[in-house]
């Protein structure tokens, strides 16, 4: 399949991500921090990206976070009942290259243990447990994680093969169920019920990789979903997506998508990465006003465009 791009095999997409908060009362102040601008990667070029909010923000700041993700921060200081944050980005993806690295995973751990210099800053932080990937060491959940991990990473298994096996194990052994989890559902519950959504599976894979002492990061982005055969593509049917990356000495960061059982990833637009969801939440913030109630609507539209 070839949608026309700049180079043969490249794909170009326009992604529109619209987040609407309805409060049902006049809020006096609203502050939001967004991670919505896609970043450039070895196989992704960002041709344009804008983020805007309605009502027009009184304050606006752009910066990079500690992992290099572009952050846009807004402040609205007048009464508002709704807040809309919309990003529109055009990105170009190179066709995925199948990564090759047969280094046994134990050797990768040893390399990480003694890693110094800039690599220690860029790679080793992703070995530390973080709030969304932490498990109580003596718990049944930890035992379940250990089991899942050891099956994929038998002694001497190559790092990419192990990651691929982990990806398949999660894809095959866990059910996709948007009704089961919420943002705050602990990983232990996901392990117990063997159900969850992409964010949970990304955290699960990260927890497994870090369990071994490997470096794994959380990736936030979008995925193009094909309509069922014969039906028109539905606007807004594409969703935000999350997957993860594992570091390898030979192939660098290797993306894997445990929700879809893919390694490498295809038709995935990367926005940013961090230790877990908390580092790259698309839109977060606080609002001040007479009510604590809010209704959230998210619409993502990812359409192929011609060059």
């Amino acid at each position: 399949m070839s949608r026309a791009g700049g180079e043969p095999g490249t794909r170009r997409y326009r992604v529109t991500h619209r987040t609407t908060y309805s409060y049902g009362a006049e809020m006096t102040d609203g502050y939001s921090v967004t991670t919505l601008v896609p970043r450039t990667t070895p196989n992704q070029r960002v041709l344009s990206s804008t983020v805007r909010a309605v009502p027009e923000p009184d304050e606006h700041e752009e910066r990079l976070d500690q992992f290099g993700n572009p952050i846009v921060q807004f402040g609205v200081h007048r009464p508002h009942r709704d807040l809309v944050v919309e990003s529109v980005s055009v990105v170009e993806l190179e066709p995925p290259v199948s990564p090759v690295d047969e280094t046994p995973w134990e050797e990768v751990v040893a390399i990480l243990d003694s890693m110094v210099g800039q690599d220690a800053l860029d790679i080793r932080p992703f070995r530390a447990t973080s709030s969304f990937t932490a498990l109580d060491p003596g718990s049944g959940a930890a035992a379940a994680l250990d089991d899942l991990t050891r099956r994929a990473f038998a002694p001497g298994t190559g790092i990419v093969d192990g990651a691929r096996a982990l990806c398949s194990a999660i894809h095959g052994g866990f059910g996709f169920d948007p009704t089961f989890t919420e943002v705050s559902t602990p990983l232990a519950d996901v392990l117990a019920a063997r159900r969850g959504v992409c964010q949970d599976f990304a955290h699960l894979a990260i927890a497994a990789l870090r369990w071994l002492g490997l470096a794994a990061r959380y990736v936030s982005g979008y995925i193009e979903t094909e309509p069922p055969p014969g039906q028109p593509r539905l606007v807004g049917a594409d969703a935000s997506h999350a997957w993860c990356s594992v570091w390898t000495p030979g192939a660098g960061w290797v993306d894997l998508d445990p929700t879809n059982g893919h390694l490498p990833v295809e038709r995935h637009v990367t926005v940013g990465w961090g230790r877990d969801y908390a580092d790259v939440t698309p839109v977060r913030g606080v609002v001040i006003g007479p009510t604590a109630e809010q209704r959230l609507e998210v619409a993502v539209d990812m359409v192929p465009v011609d060059a």
Binding site: A128, V197, Q199
Partner: protein, 708 residues
């Protein structure tokens, strides 16, 4: 030769009787000082929160922890050097990060600690540590060890100063005899150090407090008083145009330096890994833009992470090797030197020392806080609740160096929240006083003449019960009165509740009230606890009335007039008019029996005035005139409204003046028509005042988010 510190302590211990007396006085003074800042035993507040039980006052062991000058000088040098070295470690961990790239500190340790703030990496504050504290303990061999470093928002300085204030009252002669180094130079040094965080000429500083629910609220409030600056909570502060502002009655006022008493993770809910919605949204944006100076810098708390502890010595060695190093206490080591206590077996004491850095020099407090370790205590967290003042022994009293800062005029800029609390404090005080006086009046009448209970088949007692119910504000919710005892019981209950609300509001503005007021509040809090246990008797009601009178007197005589005072006093007048409307309606209008009218006059402190004026038996109509219309009677409705009007004029609040005028106009009509109208005006005035002056925002709420 025995060190002098040991002989001083031995001498003190030899005089057991005196030590006992000291301890009793110390208990009383600490209760008055400490509890005056946090009136404990507080009820559940309107919003359902309670004051933290962990903020209960501690006890002071009257035998101090004594340090010889030479030992202190050595410790001072070591603490100074350690503070600067840790500052250098912080600068590296957030700047060049050679400690990480060079392999000294594993990055996993930092990232797993939860205290390595993402948003602090790359920041270059003027100084990482403005304040610092360190816990030290001597092992049995006499060697000093570092238990822990406190770098985030070090707690305990206020307690150390408070303990010293108490000891200086208890044992001034002994302290003078031994030339104990005074602490009075420290607050100015702290003020100067805080000021140096901002490039502004005479910066405005506020203490950033966690509010009444924070475990260290006593200290936060005490430090604000010592520093002479405002105590502000998250909702008092707002970020606009990359600057930090204080919400005041006059609008937003800029803040240049924030002395934060909250941990790194709690100061800005917009931080990537911040905790919850507490703090000031956008604060770190203002800090990054230079719009406000922060002491300590954001991120400095990482040193406190337990996971970093094994690597700290190597980190210090790598960036700033120490010459006077004190080793960290090896994990598990528990053979500590013990110190005598006033009662009980000698016990180990952890010494907390404090230092401030103004960029030119480090000042170490010539004292500190000694915390007694119970047998099973973790030295990092003594649970015994027993403190020792720390004496640095000298040959003579050292004159304190007093630093002078340019004065900052904060006169009109009272935080909105403070005015809000003063307003409610006064309303509650007026209502509680009215309830107390009515209980006292009715109690004493029935006590003196129990036969009254039987008069008119008990209908007299029923009528008294009805008035009690109305003044207690329970007419509607609790149904009709069912006997005098039940009415007294429920008014007693209401009094406990209203007094609790009064104490809570007062505690939140403790830094704006005089120390004498603190003592009155402390006494009132004890009475309230007693009322909570059993029905108040006439003597304790009299004691409470004396406290209410003292509060009213202090409010009038010891409070600087300004917008906040006018607003607070408006609260008192609005409530007084409301009370009087209730009282007169339920007696003079609804039940003009001479007995009930006399009760009303007595409860309004107007019986003597009535008798002098009319020299006749009590008549309802004359009593009504005295209680409602007589401007010369300070208890009357007319007097309350006239004073309220003056406040609205002083506040230049035209809408308020018009409302009060409606009330005054109503008084020209017959009483039975006028009183409900005045009641209504009072309610409208209160609501308008809250709208006009306290449009303080509610707590921020986190925005939800979800991906699938």
């Amino acid at each position: 030769m025995t060190p002098r510190s040991e002989s001083v302590i031995a001498d003190l211990r030899a005089d057991a009787a005196r030590v006992d007396e000291w301890r009793d006085r110390a208990d009383r003074l600490l209760a008055a000082e400490g509890a005056g800042h946090l009136v404990h035993d507080l009820p559940v507040r309107a919003d359902g929160r309670t004051a933290s039980p962990s903020s209960r006052p501690w006890r002071l062991d009257p035998i101090p922890f004594a340090l010889d000058t030479l030992v202190f000088d050595w410790l001072r040098a070591a603490v100074t050097e350690r503070m600067q070295a840790i500052g250098a470690v912080l600068a590296d961990l957030h700047g060049d990060r050679t400690l990480i790239t060079g392999g000294t500190v594993p990055p996993e340790v930092l990232h797993a600690s939860g205290r390595y703030r993402s948003d602090a990496v790359g920041s270059r504050p003027p100084r990482w540590l403005t304040t610092y504290a360190v816990d030290l303990v001597q092992t049995a061999d006499g060697v000093w060890h570092v238990v822990q470093d406190l770098t985030d928002a070090p707690v305990g300085l206020g307690y150390a100063l408070l303990d010293r204030a108490v000891m200086a009252r208890v044992a001034p002669d002994v302290m003078a005899l031994h030339g104990v180094a005074p602490l009075h130079g420290y607050a100015p040094a702290l003020r100067r150090a805080l000021a140096s965080v901002s490039p502004v000429e005479s910066p405005r500083t506020v203490v950033f407090s966690g509010g009444i629910d924070h475990p260290s609220y006593i200290e936060q409030s005490y430090l604000a008083v010592q520093l002479g600056v405002h105590l502000a909570e998250g909702a008092d502060l707002v970020v606009r145009q990359r600057r930090l502002w204080l919400r005041t009655l006059d609008g937003l006022e800029p803040v240049d330096v924030l002395y934060r008493r909250l941990d790194d993770a709690a100061i800005d809910p917009l931080e990537a890994d911040g905790h919850g919605a507490a703090g000031v949204p956008g604060l770190l944006l203002a800090v990054r833009s230079g719009g406000v100076g922060l002491a300590n810098a954001h991120g400095s708390g990482v040193i406190e992470a337990p996971g970093l502890r094994p690597w700290l010595a190597a980190a210090i060695d790598a960036v700033a090797p120490l010459t006077a190093a004190i080793d960290m206490l090896p994990a598990g080591r528990r053979d500590f030197l013990t110190h005598p206590l006033a009662t009980g077996e000698p016990a180990p004491v952890v010494l907390r020392m404090f230092a401030v850095d103004d960029g030119e020099r480090v000042t170490v407090l010539p004292g500190g806080s000694g915390r007694v370790l119970a047998p099973a205590d973790d030295p990092a967290e003594p649970m015994a609740g027993l403190a020792k003042d720390v004496w640095v022994l000298g040959d003579r009293a050292v004159p304190g160096r007093v630093w002078r800062l340019p004065q900052v005029d904060f006169a009109r800029s009272v935080p909105t929240r403070v005015a809000d609390s003063l307003y409610w404090m006064n309303r509650y005080a007026e209502r509680a006083e009215a309830m107390t006086r009515l209980m006292r009046t009715i109690d004493s009448r029935f006590d003196q003449d129990p036969a009254l209970l039987l008069v008119d088949d008990g209908r007299l007692a029923e009528r008294a019960a009805r008035v009690l119910h109305i003044i207690g504000g329970m007419m509607h919710e609790d149904g009709p009165p069912s006997g005098l005892d039940a009415a007294l019981g429920s008014v007693n209950h209401a009094l406990v509740r209203v007094t609790g609300s009064l104490l809570t509001e007062a505690t939140q503005v403790r830094d704006h009230l005089s120390s004498t007021t603190g003592r009155v509040l402390e006494h009132l809090s004890r009475l309230r606890s007693a009322f909570d246990r059993h029905l108040a008797d006439v003597d304790s009601l009299d004691a409470a009335l004396a406290d209410f009178a003292a509060l009213a007197g202090l409010w009038n005589e010891s409070t600087v007039r300004g917008p906040a005072w006018h607003i607070g006093d408006l609260g008192r007048r609005i409530e007084r008019a409301a009370v009087m409307v209730d009282l007169v309606s339920s007696t003079v209008i609804d039940d003009p029996d001479p007995w009930t009218v006399e009760v009303a006059l007595a409860a309004a402190e107007s019986l003597v005035a009535y008798r002098r004026r009319y020299r006749s038996d009590v008549e309802a109509e004359a009593a009504g005139r005295l209680l409602v219309l007589d401007v010369d009677n300070p208890r009357s409705v007319a007097a309350a409204l006239t004073t309220a009007r003056a406040h609205t004029v002083a506040l230049e609040w035209a809408d308020g003046t018009l409302l009060v005028d409606d009330g005054l106009d109503a008084l020209r009509r017959p009483l039975d028509v006028a009183l409900p109208l005045v009641g209504e005006v009072g309610e409208r005035l209160g609501a308008a005042l809250v709208r006009r002056w306290f449009s303080a925002p509610t707590e921020p709420v986190a925005m939800s988010g979800r991906m699938s």
